[in-house]
Protein backbone atom coordinates (compact mmCIF):
# COMPACT_ATOMS: atom_id res chain seq x y z
CA UNK A 1 0.00 0.00 0.00
CA UNK A 2 1.22 3.50 -0.82
CA UNK A 3 2.05 5.91 1.97
CA UNK A 4 -0.36 8.71 3.00
CA UNK A 5 0.51 12.10 1.54
CA UNK A 6 -2.45 13.89 3.04
CA UNK A 7 -3.92 12.81 6.32
CA UNK A 8 -6.49 14.13 8.75
CA UNK A 9 -7.33 12.63 12.13
CA UNK A 10 -10.55 13.51 13.95
CA UNK A 11 -10.33 16.93 12.34
CA UNK A 12 -12.80 19.38 13.79
CA UNK A 13 -13.24 23.02 12.84
CA UNK A 14 -15.62 25.38 14.61
CA UNK A 15 -16.36 28.94 13.65
CA UNK A 16 -17.30 31.19 16.53
CA UNK A 17 -19.39 34.22 15.78
CA UNK A 18 -18.25 37.57 17.16
CA UNK A 19 -21.82 38.29 18.11
CA UNK A 20 -22.99 37.12 21.52
CA UNK A 21 -25.57 34.33 21.73
CA UNK A 22 -24.77 33.13 18.24
CA UNK A 23 -24.24 29.36 18.23
CA UNK A 24 -20.86 27.92 17.33
CA UNK A 25 -20.89 26.65 13.75
CA UNK A 26 -19.29 23.25 13.29
CA UNK A 27 -17.81 23.20 9.79
CA UNK A 28 -15.93 19.91 10.07
CA UNK A 29 -16.70 17.19 12.54
CA UNK A 30 -14.18 14.44 13.32
CA UNK A 31 -12.94 14.01 9.77
CA UNK A 32 -10.61 11.05 9.19
CA UNK A 33 -9.18 11.02 5.69
CA UNK A 34 -6.14 9.63 3.94
CA UNK A 35 -4.92 10.39 0.44
CA UNK A 36 -2.20 8.07 -0.85
CA UNK A 37 0.75 8.87 -3.04
CA UNK A 38 0.03 8.82 -6.76
CA UNK A 39 -3.75 8.84 -6.65
CA UNK A 40 -6.27 11.32 -7.99
CA UNK A 41 -8.67 11.99 -5.17
CA UNK A 42 -12.00 13.76 -5.62
CA UNK A 43 -13.48 15.58 -2.65
CA UNK A 44 -17.21 15.97 -3.11
CA UNK A 45 -20.06 17.50 -1.24
CA UNK A 46 -23.01 19.86 -1.68
CA UNK A 47 -22.55 23.60 -1.09
CA UNK A 48 -21.82 24.33 2.56
CA UNK A 49 -20.75 20.75 3.27
CA UNK A 50 -17.28 21.76 4.49
CA UNK A 51 -15.16 21.27 1.35
CA UNK A 52 -13.78 24.80 1.38
CA UNK A 53 -13.09 24.60 5.11
CA UNK A 54 -11.13 21.41 4.52
CA UNK A 55 -9.07 23.17 1.81
CA UNK A 56 -8.56 26.14 4.13
CA UNK A 57 -7.25 23.88 6.88
CA UNK A 58 -4.92 21.98 4.54
CA UNK A 59 -3.45 25.24 3.26
CA UNK A 60 -3.01 26.73 6.73
CA UNK A 61 -5.59 29.52 6.28
CA UNK A 62 -7.72 28.24 9.15
CA UNK A 63 -6.34 26.37 12.18
CA UNK A 64 -8.14 23.20 13.28
CA UNK A 65 -10.16 23.51 16.48
CA UNK A 66 -9.08 19.98 17.38
CA UNK A 67 -7.64 16.93 15.68
CA UNK A 68 -4.78 16.94 13.23
CA UNK A 69 -4.12 17.56 9.55
CA UNK A 70 -0.83 16.62 7.95
CA UNK A 71 0.79 16.96 4.54
CA UNK A 72 3.72 14.61 3.94
CA UNK A 73 3.59 13.81 7.65
CA UNK A 74 4.08 17.47 8.64
CA UNK A 75 1.48 19.46 10.57
CA UNK A 76 -0.28 21.81 8.12
CA UNK A 77 0.33 24.73 10.47
CA UNK A 78 4.05 24.55 9.59
CA UNK A 79 4.84 26.51 6.40
CA UNK A 80 7.32 23.79 5.38
CA UNK A 81 4.35 21.40 4.96
CA UNK A 82 3.50 23.41 1.84
CA UNK A 83 6.95 23.10 0.24
CA UNK A 84 5.89 20.19 -1.98
CA UNK A 85 2.35 21.21 -2.82
CA UNK A 86 0.77 23.27 -5.55
CA UNK A 87 -2.54 25.08 -5.05
CA UNK A 88 -4.97 26.26 -7.66
CA UNK A 89 -7.79 28.40 -6.24
CA UNK A 90 -11.28 28.35 -7.74
CA UNK A 91 -10.97 31.93 -8.97
CA UNK A 92 -7.91 33.87 -10.12
CA UNK A 93 -6.31 35.73 -7.23
CA UNK A 94 -2.99 37.03 -8.52
CA UNK A 95 -1.11 40.32 -8.47
CA UNK A 96 -2.61 41.97 -11.52
CA UNK A 97 0.16 44.59 -11.79
CA UNK A 98 2.79 41.87 -12.39
CA UNK A 99 3.44 40.18 -15.70
CA UNK A 100 3.05 36.40 -15.96
CA UNK A 101 6.81 35.97 -15.94
CA UNK A 102 7.24 38.21 -12.88
CA UNK A 103 4.48 36.39 -11.02
CA UNK A 104 6.07 33.00 -11.69
CA UNK A 105 9.51 34.35 -10.73
CA UNK A 106 8.10 35.74 -7.48
CA UNK A 107 6.58 32.39 -6.53
CA UNK A 108 9.78 30.61 -7.59
CA UNK A 109 11.68 32.79 -5.10
CA UNK A 110 9.14 31.96 -2.40
CA UNK A 111 9.83 28.27 -3.05
CA UNK A 112 13.57 28.97 -2.91
CA UNK A 113 14.27 27.87 -6.48
CA UNK A 114 17.72 28.75 -7.83
CA UNK A 115 17.80 31.34 -10.61
CA UNK A 116 18.73 28.92 -13.42
CA UNK A 117 16.17 26.36 -12.27
CA UNK A 118 13.50 29.04 -12.03
CA UNK A 119 14.28 30.32 -15.55
CA UNK A 120 13.94 26.82 -16.97
CA UNK A 121 10.76 26.08 -15.06
CA UNK A 122 9.13 29.39 -16.01
CA UNK A 123 9.88 28.76 -19.69
CA UNK A 124 8.43 25.23 -19.50
CA UNK A 125 5.28 26.36 -17.72
CA UNK A 126 4.60 29.31 -19.99
CA UNK A 127 4.85 26.89 -22.90
CA UNK A 128 2.59 24.37 -21.17
CA UNK A 129 -0.18 26.91 -20.59
CA UNK A 130 0.44 28.61 -23.95
CA UNK A 131 1.20 32.02 -22.53
CA UNK A 132 4.69 32.52 -24.00
CA UNK A 133 3.56 35.38 -26.23
CA UNK A 134 1.85 37.18 -23.34
CA UNK A 135 4.57 36.52 -20.76
CA UNK A 136 5.62 40.15 -20.51
CA UNK A 137 2.15 41.63 -20.36
CA UNK A 138 0.57 42.59 -17.03
CA UNK A 139 -1.94 40.03 -15.80
CA UNK A 140 -4.63 42.71 -15.59
CA UNK A 141 -4.69 42.76 -19.41
CA UNK A 142 -5.40 38.99 -19.61
CA UNK A 143 -8.73 37.42 -20.49
CA UNK A 144 -10.40 35.16 -17.91
CA UNK A 145 -9.12 32.04 -19.63
CA UNK A 146 -5.56 33.37 -19.70
CA UNK A 147 -5.78 34.20 -15.98
CA UNK A 148 -6.92 30.64 -15.27
CA UNK A 149 -3.93 29.37 -17.24
CA UNK A 150 -1.46 31.50 -15.31
CA UNK A 151 -3.12 30.04 -12.21
CA UNK A 152 -2.30 26.55 -13.42
CA UNK A 153 1.28 27.61 -14.16
CA UNK A 154 1.83 29.09 -10.70
CA UNK A 155 0.45 25.96 -9.05
CA UNK A 156 3.12 23.90 -10.82
CA UNK A 157 6.11 26.23 -10.35
CA UNK A 158 7.72 24.04 -7.68
CA UNK A 159 7.04 20.78 -9.54
CA UNK A 160 4.75 19.73 -6.68
CA UNK A 161 4.22 16.16 -5.48
CA UNK A 162 0.71 17.03 -4.35
CA UNK A 163 -1.62 19.34 -6.20
CA UNK A 164 -4.62 20.78 -4.36
CA UNK A 165 -7.26 22.08 -6.74
CA UNK A 166 -10.35 23.95 -5.61
CA UNK A 167 -13.05 23.35 -8.23
CA UNK A 168 -10.49 23.61 -11.03
CA UNK A 169 -12.93 23.48 -13.92
CA UNK A 170 -15.63 25.75 -12.55
CA UNK A 171 -16.30 28.65 -14.87
CA UNK A 172 -14.07 27.29 -17.64
CA UNK A 173 -15.15 26.78 -21.22
CA UNK A 174 -14.98 23.22 -22.65
CA UNK A 175 -11.48 23.88 -24.00
CA UNK A 176 -10.23 25.09 -20.63
CA UNK A 177 -11.79 22.05 -18.91
CA UNK A 178 -10.11 19.72 -21.32
CA UNK A 179 -6.77 21.43 -20.66
CA UNK A 180 -7.17 21.05 -16.90
CA UNK A 181 -8.15 17.39 -17.32
CA UNK A 182 -5.10 16.82 -19.51
CA UNK A 183 -2.83 18.38 -16.93
CA UNK A 184 -4.33 16.26 -14.13
CA UNK A 185 -3.85 13.09 -16.21
CA UNK A 186 -0.29 14.10 -17.07
CA UNK A 187 0.49 14.66 -13.41
CA UNK A 188 -0.89 11.23 -12.60
CA UNK A 189 1.41 9.66 -15.18
CA UNK A 190 4.32 11.49 -13.52
CA UNK A 191 3.36 9.85 -10.23
CA UNK A 192 1.98 13.01 -8.61
CA UNK A 193 -0.95 13.10 -6.23
CA UNK A 194 -3.97 15.28 -6.98
CA UNK A 195 -6.59 16.26 -4.42
CA UNK A 196 -9.46 18.26 -5.77
CA UNK A 197 -12.92 19.43 -4.93
CA UNK A 198 -15.54 19.53 -7.64
CA UNK A 199 -19.21 19.65 -8.46
CA UNK A 200 -18.63 18.09 -11.87
CA UNK A 201 -19.49 14.50 -10.97
CA UNK A 202 -19.12 13.15 -14.50
CA UNK A 203 -15.59 14.47 -14.62
CA UNK A 204 -14.79 13.09 -11.18
CA UNK A 205 -16.10 9.69 -12.21
CA UNK A 206 -13.82 9.69 -15.25
CA UNK A 207 -10.54 10.73 -13.71
CA UNK A 208 -10.57 9.94 -9.99
CA UNK A 209 -9.05 6.84 -8.43
CA UNK A 210 -10.95 7.43 -5.20
CA UNK A 211 -13.53 9.90 -3.96
CA UNK A 212 -14.81 11.10 -0.61
CA UNK A 213 -18.27 12.54 -0.01
CA UNK A 214 -18.75 15.01 2.78
CA UNK A 215 -22.06 16.34 4.05
CA UNK A 216 -22.73 18.78 6.90
CA UNK A 217 -19.09 18.55 7.99
CA UNK A 218 -19.08 14.76 8.27
CA UNK A 219 -17.44 12.23 6.00
CA UNK A 220 -20.25 10.11 4.56
CA UNK A 221 -18.39 7.86 2.16
CA UNK A 222 -14.88 7.21 0.88
CA UNK A 223 -13.59 4.74 -1.69
CA UNK A 224 -13.47 4.07 -5.42
CA UNK A 225 -16.46 5.09 -7.52
CA UNK A 226 -17.38 1.38 -7.76
CA UNK A 227 -17.23 1.04 -3.96
CA UNK A 228 -19.55 3.97 -3.43
CA UNK A 229 -22.08 3.16 -6.13
CA UNK A 230 -24.51 0.30 -5.59
CA UNK A 231 -25.95 -1.75 -8.41
CA UNK A 232 -25.99 0.16 -11.69
CA UNK A 233 -26.17 3.69 -10.31
CA UNK A 234 -23.66 6.26 -11.50
CA UNK A 235 -21.70 8.58 -9.21
CA UNK A 236 -24.32 11.31 -9.41
CA UNK A 237 -27.08 8.99 -8.20
CA UNK A 238 -24.81 7.58 -5.50
CA UNK A 239 -23.92 11.12 -4.41
CA UNK A 240 -27.58 12.16 -4.17
CA UNK A 241 -28.45 9.03 -2.20
CA UNK A 242 -25.56 9.56 0.24
CA UNK A 243 -26.40 13.21 0.94
CA UNK A 244 -30.06 12.22 1.40
CA UNK A 245 -31.53 14.08 -1.56
CA UNK A 246 -35.09 13.01 -2.42
CA UNK A 247 -36.16 13.84 -5.94
CA UNK A 248 -39.65 15.33 -6.17
CA UNK A 249 -40.03 14.59 -9.87
CA UNK A 250 -40.86 11.07 -11.07
Amino acid sequence: MSSAILQTEKLRVEYRSRELRQPVKVALCGLDLEVRAGEIFGFLGPNGAGKTTMMNVLLGFVPPTSGAARLFGIDVRQPIARQRIGYLPELTYYYKFLTAEELLRFYAKIFGLARAEADKRIEQLLKLVELEAAAKRPIKSYSKGMQQRIGIAQSLINNPDLLILDEPTSGLDPLGRMKVREIIQRLKHEGKTVFFSSHELGEVETICDRVAIIHQGELKAVGTVADISTGHENLEKAFLRIVGFQSTTP
Binding site: Y15, T52, T53, M55, N56, L59, G60, F61, V62, P63, P79, I80, A81, R82, Q83, I85, Y87, P89, E90, L91, Y93, Y94, Y95, K96, F97, L98, E102, F106, Y107, K109, I110, F111, G112, P138, G151, Q154, I164, D166
Partner: protein, 259 residues
Amino acid sequence: MNKIFALAGVVIKELYRRKDFYVLFVLTALLTLAAAAMNFFHDEKIVRYVKDICLLLIWVSALLVAIVTTARQIPAEREARTIFPLLAKPVSRGQVIVGKFLGCWLATGVALAVFYFFFAIITGSREHIWPLAVYLQALWMQWAMLAIVIAMVLLGSIYFAAPSSTVTICFIAVAGILGLGTHLHVIALQQPEPMQTILTAVYFTMPHLEWYDLRDFVVYDMGLVSWPGFALATLYAAVWTGIFLLLAWLGFRRKNLTT
Protein backbone atom coordinates in the same frame (compact mmCIF):
# COMPACT_ATOMS: atom_id res chain seq x y z
CA MET B 1 15.62 35.93 3.92
CA ASN B 2 15.11 35.51 0.13
CA LYS B 3 11.37 35.11 0.70
CA ILE B 4 11.26 38.39 2.62
CA PHE B 5 13.16 40.20 -0.13
CA ALA B 6 10.84 38.68 -2.75
CA LEU B 7 7.80 39.96 -0.82
CA ALA B 8 9.42 43.39 -0.42
CA GLY B 9 10.15 43.46 -4.16
CA VAL B 10 6.47 42.96 -4.97
CA VAL B 11 5.50 45.83 -2.63
CA ILE B 12 7.97 48.15 -4.37
CA LYS B 13 6.82 47.05 -7.84
CA GLU B 14 3.22 47.67 -6.89
CA LEU B 15 4.02 51.13 -5.58
CA TYR B 16 6.01 51.97 -8.69
CA ARG B 17 3.29 50.71 -11.04
CA ARG B 18 0.45 52.35 -9.18
CA LYS B 19 2.26 55.61 -9.93
CA ASP B 20 2.39 56.74 -6.33
CA PHE B 21 6.02 57.63 -6.85
CA TYR B 22 5.15 60.00 -9.68
CA VAL B 23 3.14 62.09 -7.25
CA LEU B 24 6.25 62.27 -5.11
CA PHE B 25 8.37 63.40 -8.01
CA VAL B 26 5.93 66.18 -8.85
CA LEU B 27 6.10 67.26 -5.23
CA THR B 28 9.88 67.13 -5.39
CA ALA B 29 9.84 69.37 -8.44
CA LEU B 30 7.69 71.88 -6.56
CA LEU B 31 10.07 71.72 -3.60
CA THR B 32 12.99 72.31 -5.90
CA LEU B 33 11.31 75.36 -7.39
CA ALA B 34 10.56 76.74 -3.93
CA ALA B 35 14.15 76.22 -2.83
CA ALA B 36 15.46 77.71 -6.05
CA ALA B 37 13.48 80.89 -5.38
CA MET B 38 15.29 81.48 -2.08
CA ASN B 39 17.91 83.91 -3.36
CA PHE B 40 15.37 86.25 -4.91
CA PHE B 41 14.94 87.83 -1.49
CA HIS B 42 18.62 88.04 -0.40
CA ASP B 43 17.41 87.84 3.19
CA GLU B 44 18.88 85.16 5.44
CA LYS B 45 15.70 84.87 7.51
CA ILE B 46 13.55 84.30 4.43
CA VAL B 47 16.02 81.80 3.05
CA ARG B 48 15.82 79.83 6.31
CA TYR B 49 12.06 80.12 6.37
CA VAL B 50 11.76 78.70 2.86
CA LYS B 51 14.19 75.89 3.71
CA ASP B 52 12.09 75.13 6.78
CA ILE B 53 8.94 74.95 4.67
CA CYS B 54 10.68 72.69 2.15
CA LEU B 55 11.75 70.31 4.91
CA LEU B 56 8.28 70.37 6.45
CA LEU B 57 6.85 69.39 3.07
CA ILE B 58 9.35 66.55 2.86
CA TRP B 59 8.26 65.37 6.31
CA VAL B 60 4.56 65.53 5.57
CA SER B 61 4.77 63.90 2.14
CA ALA B 62 7.08 61.11 3.38
CA LEU B 63 4.70 60.44 6.27
CA LEU B 64 1.72 60.38 3.91
CA VAL B 65 3.41 57.96 1.53
CA ALA B 66 4.53 55.71 4.39
CA ILE B 67 1.15 55.62 6.13
CA VAL B 68 -1.09 55.36 3.07
CA THR B 69 1.09 52.74 1.35
CA THR B 70 1.48 50.58 4.44
CA ALA B 71 -2.15 50.77 5.55
CA ARG B 72 -3.42 49.15 2.37
CA GLN B 73 -0.90 46.29 2.17
CA ILE B 74 -2.55 43.50 4.19
CA PRO B 75 -6.20 44.63 3.69
CA ALA B 76 -5.64 44.87 -0.08
CA GLU B 77 -4.12 41.38 -0.14
CA ARG B 78 -7.19 40.09 1.70
CA GLU B 79 -9.66 41.99 -0.41
CA ALA B 80 -8.08 40.98 -3.73
CA ARG B 81 -7.58 37.48 -2.24
CA THR B 82 -3.97 37.39 -3.41
CA ILE B 83 -3.14 36.40 0.17
CA PHE B 84 -4.47 32.87 -0.49
CA PRO B 85 -2.14 31.70 -3.25
CA LEU B 86 0.66 33.41 -1.33
CA LEU B 87 0.02 31.70 2.01
CA ALA B 88 -0.50 28.40 0.20
CA LYS B 89 3.25 28.55 -0.47
CA PRO B 90 5.87 27.73 2.17
CA VAL B 91 5.89 31.22 3.60
CA SER B 92 5.00 32.06 7.19
CA ARG B 93 2.74 34.91 8.20
CA GLY B 94 5.69 36.41 10.06
CA GLN B 95 7.65 36.53 6.81
CA VAL B 96 4.70 38.21 5.10
CA ILE B 97 4.62 40.90 7.82
CA VAL B 98 8.39 41.49 7.65
CA GLY B 99 8.37 41.46 3.83
CA LYS B 100 5.59 44.03 3.69
CA PHE B 101 7.40 46.18 6.24
CA LEU B 102 10.68 45.99 4.35
CA GLY B 103 9.05 46.84 1.02
CA CYS B 104 7.27 49.88 2.41
CA TRP B 105 10.36 51.04 4.33
CA LEU B 106 12.69 50.68 1.34
CA ALA B 107 10.24 52.43 -0.98
CA THR B 108 9.87 55.32 1.47
CA GLY B 109 13.66 55.43 1.84
CA VAL B 110 14.09 55.81 -1.92
CA ALA B 111 11.55 58.64 -1.96
CA LEU B 112 13.29 60.36 0.96
CA ALA B 113 16.70 60.02 -0.65
CA VAL B 114 15.38 61.66 -3.83
CA PHE B 115 13.88 64.51 -1.81
CA TYR B 116 17.05 65.17 0.15
CA PHE B 117 19.16 64.89 -2.99
CA PHE B 118 17.14 67.62 -4.72
CA PHE B 119 17.15 69.72 -1.57
CA ALA B 120 20.93 69.41 -1.18
CA ILE B 121 21.64 70.17 -4.85
CA ILE B 122 19.50 73.29 -4.96
CA THR B 123 20.52 74.77 -1.61
CA GLY B 124 24.17 73.87 -2.25
CA SER B 125 24.19 75.50 -5.68
CA ARG B 126 22.68 78.69 -4.25
CA GLU B 127 24.53 78.98 -0.94
CA HIS B 128 27.76 77.23 -1.97
CA ILE B 129 27.83 75.15 1.23
CA TRP B 130 27.58 71.38 1.29
CA PRO B 131 26.84 70.09 4.81
CA LEU B 132 26.46 66.52 3.54
CA ALA B 133 26.95 64.85 6.93
CA VAL B 134 24.12 66.95 8.39
CA TYR B 135 21.86 66.02 5.48
CA LEU B 136 22.75 62.35 5.83
CA GLN B 137 22.05 62.40 9.55
CA ALA B 138 18.71 64.15 8.98
CA LEU B 139 17.81 61.66 6.23
CA TRP B 140 18.77 58.62 8.30
CA MET B 141 16.92 59.85 11.40
CA GLN B 142 13.79 60.56 9.41
CA TRP B 143 14.01 57.15 7.77
CA ALA B 144 14.48 55.48 11.19
CA MET B 145 11.41 57.35 12.47
CA LEU B 146 9.47 56.13 9.42
CA ALA B 147 10.42 52.54 10.29
CA ILE B 148 8.54 52.96 13.60
CA VAL B 149 5.58 54.57 11.81
CA ILE B 150 5.40 51.85 9.12
CA ALA B 151 5.53 49.06 11.72
CA MET B 152 2.83 50.86 13.73
CA VAL B 153 0.60 51.19 10.65
CA LEU B 154 1.11 47.51 9.76
CA LEU B 155 -0.05 46.63 13.27
CA GLY B 156 -3.10 48.88 12.82
CA SER B 157 -3.90 47.31 9.46
CA ILE B 158 -4.16 43.87 11.09
CA TYR B 159 -6.85 45.03 13.51
CA PHE B 160 -8.77 47.67 11.53
CA ALA B 161 -10.54 46.22 8.53
CA ALA B 162 -10.65 49.41 6.46
CA PRO B 163 -7.36 51.02 5.37
CA SER B 164 -9.03 54.44 5.79
CA SER B 165 -9.52 53.80 9.53
CA THR B 166 -5.87 52.77 9.89
CA VAL B 167 -4.69 55.83 7.96
CA THR B 168 -6.80 58.24 10.03
CA ILE B 169 -5.95 56.76 13.42
CA CYS B 170 -2.23 56.39 12.67
CA PHE B 171 -1.95 59.86 11.16
CA ILE B 172 -3.60 61.42 14.22
CA ALA B 173 -1.36 59.38 16.56
CA VAL B 174 1.82 60.33 14.68
CA ALA B 175 0.83 64.00 14.40
CA GLY B 176 -0.02 63.99 18.12
CA ILE B 177 3.33 62.49 19.08
CA LEU B 178 5.26 64.87 16.80
CA GLY B 179 3.33 67.89 18.03
CA LEU B 180 2.95 67.15 21.74
CA GLY B 181 5.61 64.54 22.42
CA THR B 182 8.26 66.95 23.71
CA HIS B 183 5.89 68.85 25.96
CA LEU B 184 3.67 66.07 27.28
CA HIS B 185 5.49 65.57 30.60
CA VAL B 186 5.41 69.35 31.21
CA ILE B 187 1.69 69.43 30.41
CA ALA B 188 1.25 66.44 32.75
CA LEU B 189 2.73 68.40 35.69
CA GLN B 190 0.05 71.06 35.29
CA GLN B 191 -2.82 68.52 35.43
CA PRO B 192 -4.72 67.25 38.48
CA GLU B 193 -4.55 63.59 39.44
CA PRO B 194 -5.23 61.05 37.94
CA MET B 195 -4.64 62.88 34.64
CA GLN B 196 -1.09 63.74 35.73
CA THR B 197 -0.19 60.08 36.25
CA ILE B 198 -1.91 59.04 33.02
CA LEU B 199 -0.12 61.66 30.90
CA THR B 200 3.22 60.93 32.55
CA ALA B 201 2.72 57.21 31.86
CA VAL B 202 1.84 57.99 28.23
CA TYR B 203 4.97 60.16 27.93
CA PHE B 204 7.23 57.37 29.12
CA THR B 205 5.57 54.58 27.14
CA MET B 206 5.01 56.16 23.73
CA PRO B 207 7.56 56.08 20.92
CA HIS B 208 9.19 59.51 20.80
CA LEU B 209 9.07 60.23 17.10
CA GLU B 210 9.84 63.92 17.69
CA TRP B 211 13.43 63.00 18.64
CA TYR B 212 14.06 62.19 14.98
CA ASP B 213 13.21 65.64 13.71
CA LEU B 214 16.54 67.24 12.75
CA ARG B 215 15.08 70.01 10.60
CA ASP B 216 16.48 72.73 12.88
CA PHE B 217 19.98 71.25 12.53
CA VAL B 218 19.68 71.63 8.75
CA VAL B 219 17.96 75.04 8.67
CA TYR B 220 19.95 76.79 11.40
CA ASP B 221 23.34 75.17 10.66
CA MET B 222 23.53 73.67 14.15
CA GLY B 223 26.12 71.09 13.15
CA LEU B 224 25.94 67.35 13.74
CA VAL B 225 24.09 65.39 16.36
CA SER B 226 26.58 63.55 18.63
CA TRP B 227 27.33 60.13 17.19
CA PRO B 228 26.51 58.22 20.43
CA GLY B 229 23.14 60.02 20.53
CA PHE B 230 22.63 59.18 16.86
CA ALA B 231 23.42 55.50 17.49
CA LEU B 232 21.11 55.38 20.53
CA ALA B 233 18.26 56.93 18.53
CA THR B 234 18.77 54.31 15.82
CA LEU B 235 18.68 51.55 18.42
CA TYR B 236 15.54 53.06 19.99
CA ALA B 237 13.85 53.06 16.56
CA ALA B 238 14.88 49.43 15.99
CA VAL B 239 13.40 48.39 19.34
CA TRP B 240 10.06 50.13 18.73
CA THR B 241 9.89 48.78 15.19
CA GLY B 242 10.53 45.29 16.54
CA ILE B 243 7.80 45.66 19.17
CA PHE B 244 5.20 46.79 16.63
CA LEU B 245 6.15 44.06 14.16
CA LEU B 246 5.96 41.44 16.90
CA LEU B 247 2.49 42.63 17.89
CA ALA B 248 1.41 42.64 14.23
CA TRP B 249 2.66 39.07 13.82
CA LEU B 250 0.89 37.94 16.99
CA GLY B 251 -2.36 39.40 15.65
CA PHE B 252 -1.95 38.00 12.14
CA ARG B 253 -0.67 34.50 12.86
CA ARG B 254 -3.91 33.17 14.38
CA LYS B 255 -6.27 35.08 12.14
CA ASN B 256 -8.75 32.92 10.26
CA LEU B 257 -8.55 33.58 6.54
CA THR B 258 -11.43 31.97 4.72
CA THR B 259 -11.61 31.70 0.95
